[in-house]
C-alpha cells in the first residue's frame, strides 16, 4: 500500500472520486489493448463501459484488478489515495475492489456456500496456529462468516440458497453468473467491477439482473460495469464510457454516448455514421452467447 503523503488538492471537497485513472496504457507486444485512458468514478455511481469486441474493456478490468501490470499511467483508488500500479491482485482486493469474470471463474468443486466464503476472504483472518488449535475465536469467526454467507446468498432469494451445499459446477448457467455476483458482494468492496454480468442470459434473466444491480447500488456499492446489452446499460448506468481500439471515444449520459458519431461509427462502420445511422441502443450489438 503506497499512500500519497501529500495532502490531496481536492481533499477539501468531500466528493473526491473513489477511482482516478490517468493516462493508463497497456500493450501486448504490438497490440495496444488500452491507450492513454483517463477516467474517474465517484463514490456511489454506476458507470458502464461499452465498446465493440476486442476494444480493451476486459483488459482494462485486468489492469484495475492487478492481473496485468500497466505499461504506463497511474491508477489511484480511495481516500486517502493508494496507487494500484504494481500491486498484486490480492493486495488490490484487500484495498476493496472485487470483480466478476466474463468467462466464469467460480470454484467448481467447492459448494455454493464455500464460494461465497472465499469472497469474504479479505475479512477473515485466522493464521496457521489458530486454525490448528481451533481457538474459540476462530470457531466464533467461522460461525459468523457462515451466517453472513447465508445472508449474502439471500440477496438472490431462494435461487442460490436452495443450492447452499451443492458444488458450484452443478448450478445452471444463470445461477453461476449470480454466484459470481454473490461472491463479489460477500467481499463487501468499495468498488465492484462487473464484466458482462448478463452475457448469455435470456431477456427475463437480464431484466432481473438489472433490478439486482440497482439494488446493489441502493445498498451503497459503487459499480463499474462492462456490458454489451444496451437495455441493461440504459437501465442502470448514470454515466457511460465508450471504448474503441483501447481508446476512450465518448463519455456522458447514455443518450449522448449513443448518439455520438464516433460511437456509431465504431459499432456500425463509417457509412452508417455518415447516414446518421442508428445508435447502438436500437439495433444494438446483442449479448453474445
Amino acid at each position: 500500500m503506497t499512500k500519497d503523503p501529500r495532502p490531496s488538492p481536492e481533499a477539501a471537497g468531500a466528493d473526491q472520486p473513489i477511482l482516478r485513472i490517468e493516462g493508463v496504457s497497456k500493450s501486448f507486444g504490438g497490440i495496444r489493448a488500452v491507450q492513454n485512458l483517463n477516467l474517474s468514478v465517484e463514490t456511489g455511481e454506476v458507470v458502464a463501459i461499452i465498446g465493440p469486441n476486442g476494444s480493451g474493456k476486459t483488459t482494462f478490468f485486468n489492469l484495475l484488478s492487478g492481473l496485468y501490470p500497466v505499461t504506463s499511467g497511474s491508477i489511484e483508488f480511495d481516500d486517502p489515495p493508494s496507487s494500484l500500479v504494481g500491486l498484486p491482485a490480492h493486495k488490490i482486493n484487500e484495498l476493496g475492489i472485487a470483480r466478476t469474470f466474463q468467462t466464469l471463474r467460480l470454484f467448481p468443486n467447492l459448494t455454493v456456500a464455500e464460494n461465497v466464503l472465499i469472497g469474504m476472504n479479505r475479512h477473515l483472518n485466522g493464521g496457521f496456529l489458530q486454525s490448528l488449535l481451533r481457538t474459540p475465536a476462530i470457531v466464533e469467526d467461522e460461525k459468523k462468516a457462515e451466517e453472513r454467507a447465508t445472508e449474502t446468498l439471500g440477496f438472490f432469494g431462494p435461487r442460490l440458497l436452495s443450492m447452499y451445499n451443492e458444488p458450484a459446477y452443478s448450478l445452471s448457467y444463470a445461477n453461476r453468473r449470480r454466484l459470481e455476483i454473490a461472491r463479489v458482494l460477500a467481499s463487501r468492496p468499495k468498488l465492484i467491477l462487473l464484466d458482462e454480468p448478463v452475457a448469455g442470459m435470456n431477456p427475463t434473466e437480464t431484466a432481473e439482473i438489472m433490478e439486482d444491480i440497482k439494488r446493489i447500488n441502493t445498498m451503497g456499492f459503487t459499480v463499474l460495469l462492462i456490458e454489451h446489452d444496451m437495455a441493461l446499460v440504459r437501465g442502470v448506468a448514470e454515466r457511460v464510457i465508450a471504448l474503441d481500439h483501447g481508446t476512450k471515444i465518448a463519455e456522458g449520459s447514455f443518450d449522448d454516448v449513443c448518439n455520438d458519431p464516433e460511437v456509431i461509427e465504431a459499432y456500425l462502420g463509417r457509412g452508417a455514421a455518415a447516414a446518421g445511422g442508428a445508435a447502438p441502443a436500437s439495433d444494438a450489438p446483442e449479448a453474445r452467447p
Binding site: 492481473l67 470454484f107 456456500a113 464455500e114 479479505r122 439471500g154 440477496f155 432469494g157
Partner: protein, 423 residues
C-alpha cells in the same frame, strides 16, 4: 440421481432423527468397518502366494460389484461423513488390536508399521496435492530429508530420536520451501516436471554428497528410540502376553497418524484449507479474492513436506539403515499413487491407499517379476473403474436452519441489512 440425494438428505438431518435411528446408523457403520477389516486380515493371514492371488481377485470382483451398487456406496460414505466420531473410534480400536492379533508374526507387525510410516508420508502429499492441488512428483526428497536428518543427528551427535523427529520434519519442510520458489512460476504439468527434476537431482546429491549422507554406503547403525527407559528393540509384555518389538514402532506410527490426520482435518476445515482449495480450483479467481498465491503455495509445500520428513525420520530409526536407494523416483511415484488411488484430498482414502500400496506388493514377493506387473495392472484397473480413487473426498455440508432460510428469502428484494460496502 434423486434417490441418492434422498438418502443423503435423510442422513443429513441428523437432528431430526431419533436416538434409536442414530444408534442404528452407528452400528451399521461399525458393521461395515469390521467387515472390511476382517477381509483385510484374511488377506494378510493367507501365506500361500497363489491362494493370496485368488483371494485378491475375489475381493477385486467384490469391489467391482460394490461399485455397481451406488446406493450402498453412497450410504457407506454418508455414514462415514455424518458419524465421524464413530469412524475414528472404531478404526482406532481395530488398528490398536492389530498387533495383538498377529502377535505370533513379527513380520506382519513390521509390515503394519512400515505401512503406517507411508500413511504419514502420503497424508503429507495429500496436503500439497489433495488440498492445494500442487502436483509434487518428487516427494521422496522430503522423506529423505527427514530420514537423513534424524539419522545423522543420532549417529554423529547422539541426538535423541524425540528431538531428531521434529527436526527431521522441519528440515524436510525447508526442502519443501526451497522447491516452492521455482515451482511458483509454473502450473500443472510444468510443475510436475520441476518437482520431478528436483527429486532426481536430490537423489544424485544423496549419492554423491558423501560428507552429509555417506553416499552409497548409507547411514548405518541408527539407534532405535527409547521411551521412559523402554528400548524400542525390546518386546512389550502386557498381562504376561509378549508382543514382538516391532509393536513399539507400530504404535508410534499409529499415534503419529492420528496427529497427522487431526492436523490435516483442522487445516482443511479452516480458512487456510479453504484458500488452498480455492487456489486448486481457480488460482486467478483466488488471487482476485485476496488470496496471496505465493504465501499459500509455499505454505502448502512446506506443510506437506513436514509430514514427509516425519515419516522419513521414523523410517530411519525403525530400519536402522538409510540408503539413497530408498529415495529413488519409484519411491516418489509410489507415494503419488497412494494419494491418487486412495482419493485425492480424502484423509481416510489416502491412508487406505498407502496401506494397500505397501502391503500388497510386499505380500506378493513370491511372484518376483510378475509382482510389479500384476500390481501395475491392478492400479490401472482401479483408475479406470474408479478414477476419483477408492474412497473419494466428500463435499462438506453445512447446516442451514430452514427457518432462517425462509426469513432470508422473504427479505430478499428488500434491503439487505448486512451486505454493505465496508468503510
Amino acid at each position: 440421481m434423486p434417490e441418492i440425494d434422498f438418502i443423503s438428505s435423510q442422513i443429513r438431518k441428523d437432528d431430526d432423527r431419533s436416538t434409536a435411528e442414530r444408534v442404528r446408523d452407528r452400528l451399521e457403520l461399525t458393521g461395515y468397518l469390521v467387515f472390511f477389516f476382517i477381509l483385510f486380515l484374511i488377506g494378510l493371514a493367507i501365506k500361500d502366494a497363489y491362494l493370496l492371488m485368488g483371494y485378491l481377485a475375489l475381493v477385486g470382483a467384490g469391489a467391482f460389484m460394490w461399485r455397481k451398487l451406488p446406493r450402498l456406496d453412497q450410504r457407506f460414505r454418508d455414514l462415514v461423513q455424518v458419524h465421524k466420531g464413530q469412524m475414528v473410534l472404531v478404526m482406532s480400536v481395530l488398528l490398536a488390536v492389530y498387533p495383538l492379533i498377529f502377535a505370533h508374526d513379527a513380520y506382519l507387525v513390521h509390515l503394519g508399521a512400515l505401512a503406517g510410516i507411508f500413511v504419514i508420508v502420503a497424508l503429507g502429499l495429500n496436503i500439497t496435492l489433495g488440498f492445494a492441488g500442487l502436483l509434487d512428483v518428487g516427494f521422496a526428497v522430503y522423506f529423505a530429508a527427514g530420514a537423513y536428518t534424524s539419522a545423522q543427528l543420532a549417529v554423529i551427535w547422539d541426538v535423541d530420536f524425540w528431538v531428531g523427529l521434529p527436526l527431521g520434519g522441519l528440515v524436510a519442510a525447508f526442502f519443501g520451501f526451497l522447491v516452492a520458489w521455482p515451482a511458483l512460476r509454473v502450473k500443472g504439468h510444468y510443475l510436475a516436471m520441476v518437482t520431478l527434476g528436483y527429486g532426481l537431482m536430490m537423489n544424485i546429491l544423496h549419492r554423491n554428497l558423501k560428507g552429509v549422507t555417506n553416499g552409497t554406503d548409507g547411514v548405518i547403525n541408527i539407534p532405535a528410540p527409547t521411551i521412559f527407559g523402554h528400548d524400542f528393540l525390546s518386546p512389550i509384555t502386557v498381562f504376561g502376553f509378549t508382543l514382538p518389538f516391532q509393536t513399539n514402532f507400530y504404535y508410534l506410527t499409529l499415534i503419529l497418524i492420528a496427529i497427522t490426520m487431526l492436523i490435516s482435518y483442522r487445516l482443511l476445515n479452516s480458512n487456510i484449507g479453504r484458500r488452498w482449495e480455492a487456489m486448486r480450483e481457480d488460482d486467478v479467481a483466488a488471487h482476485c479474492f485476496g488470496i496471496d498465491l505465493t504465501f499459500n503455495k509455499v505454505l502448502a509445500f512446506s506443510t506437506g513436506a513436514f509430514f514427509g520428513g516425519i515419516g522419513g525420520a521414523v523410517f530411519a530409526h525403525m530400519i536402522g539403515f538409510v540408503h539413497p536407494d530408498n529415495f529413488i523416483l519409484l519411491t516418489s511415484i509410489t507415494i503419488l499413487a497412494m494419494v491418487l488411488i486412495g482419493g485425492m484430498g480424502s484423509i481416510w482414502g489416502v491412508a487406505l491407499g498407502a496401506v494397500l500400496l505397501i502391503m500388497i506388493p510386499e505380500r506378493l514377493r513370491d511372484f518376483e517379476v510378475l509382482r510389479m506387473l500384476l500390481f501395475g495392472l491392478s492400479m490401472a484397473l482401479i483408475m479406470i473403474f474408479r478414477p476419483q480413487g477408492l474412497f473419494p473426498s466428500q463435499r462438506r455440508r453445512r447446516e442451514l436452519e430452514s427457518a432462517r432460510v425462509e426469513e432470508l428469502i422473504k427479505a430478499s428484494g428488500k434491503e439487505n441489512a448486512h451486505v454493505r460496502p465496508v468503510d
